[in-house]
Symmetry: C2
Subunit: 84 residues, 2 copies
């Protein structure tokens, strides 16, 4: 694999996995007062469109990164609704 | 512009602008207790690598989306340090 594509893969892994500690924190503390619902709603809309883009271009990396981040965004939205 | 590229452009605009209401909320409320510092640190590292990827591939869309989101992530890190 060319170095630049490896960099892209690491970049995708980091920007996706970044949301895991946020989900964990909200889940553990049962508190989401400082979390912006608008952020996660707009983010989810964008991630769905990125997934459509990835499906069209048959890019497994784009599809995987965006569906996983999308799933984490949905969990954050649920936690935000649950712990107002 | 092909429809699918327009979808990609809208996707990039949404996933970048999503962070604006979060920055606004943290700035306005001066409270970031529920915000994960780890999330924004890992996200920033990923966004820097995405920018490197974009520079290599001469993709202005990737460079712009990731530098703007990166700037917003830096503001969130500063607000998180300021309002513990």
């Amino acid at each position: 694999m060319p170095t630049i594509e490896l960099i892209g893969l690491i970049a995708a892994t980091l920007t996706t996995s970044a949301f895991v500690p946020q989900v964990y924190k909200a889940f553990k503390n049962k508190s989401t007062a400082d979390i912006s619902m608008t952020m996660y709603a707009v983010l989810l809309a964008g991630l769905i469109l990125w997934t459509v883009y990835g499906i069209y271009h048959k890019s497994l990396a784009i599809i995987l990164a965006n569906t996983i981040t999308g799933a984490l965004a949905i969990v954050m939205i649920i936690l935000k609704i649950k712990h107002k």
